[in-house]
């Protein structure tokens, strides 16, 4: 027998898909690029909004942040950056934290933190928009 049929234990289809046992493959890589592209116009808009509202009083800030266009831009900004930063912090944790328990705890905390930031910011913006 010159050729061993089990040279690779994985099927050719599994190898060509390159997704491994987790079935997720390049999902994070792609999502980081997707949110990065979205972040470009949203960050420019958000930085301009933050600086321009710096010297204004609460009534003016509340009115501008609660106006439809500004509120929607800020909501999109929040959604995109929190998603982006969750993946980014996960990469940092996986690079530097080698203790399995600490890594698991930090990865969970990362998810909790980013979702809490996203919802808290959205709460503020929606409250301003709907004047509750």
């Amino acid at each position: 027998m010159s050729e061993t049929p089990l040279k690779h234990i994985r099927t050719p289809l599994a190898r060509v898909r390159g997704r491994g046992a987790a079935r997720s493959g390049t999902g994070h890589f792609w999502h980081q690029r997707l949110t990065a592209v979205a972040n470009i116009p949203l960050t420019i808009a958000a930085v301009v909004i933050i600086i321009l509202l710096l010297g204004r009083n609460q009534a003016a800030v509340a009115q501008i942040l609660g106006s439809p266009l500004v509120a929607i831009i800020m909501l999109l900004f929040i959604a995109s950056i929190t998603s982006h930063m969750r993946i980014g912090m996960q990469a940092i944790i996986e690079d530097y934290v080698h203790d399995e328990v600490a890594k698991l705890v930090l990865l969970m905390a990362n998810t909790f933190f980013t979702i809490a930031v996203a919802l808290a910011a959205a709460y503020g913006l929606l409250k301003l928009s709907f004047g509750l």
Binding site: I40, N57, Q58, M74, G88, I92, G124
Partner: protein, 132 residues
Amino acid sequence: MAETKAPAARPLSPHLQIYRPMLTMMMSIVHRVTGFGLYFGTLLLVWWLIAAASPGAYSRYEWFASSIIGRLILFGYTWALIHHMLGGVRHLIWDTGHGFGPSEREWLAAANLIGSITVAVVLWVVGLLAMG
């Protein structure tokens, strides 16, 4: 008779301390550091949005934002946003397979740093002048 040998002092692959600092290396580190900082900087954003949505609480943010320290922190946050964004554009260019040449990568790293400082300073000067 089995002797347990002390683990051999294996050579580690060269790391940060062995290289002369280079611009491309520093910009890589700064990209990660700004990403890490921006992650926690979102707390500032949440504070601002929630404070704007609660009239009584905004004066504390105003006090912070008009203090020297607060201004420096806000300037740092917006600069980090812009720097990380331009660094991200650099990564997106690399994703297409371009920008790896010896002069290109130096040029891109310098443009990243000079661009972020310039844009942040210009936006703040305009913002502060608009504030009067």
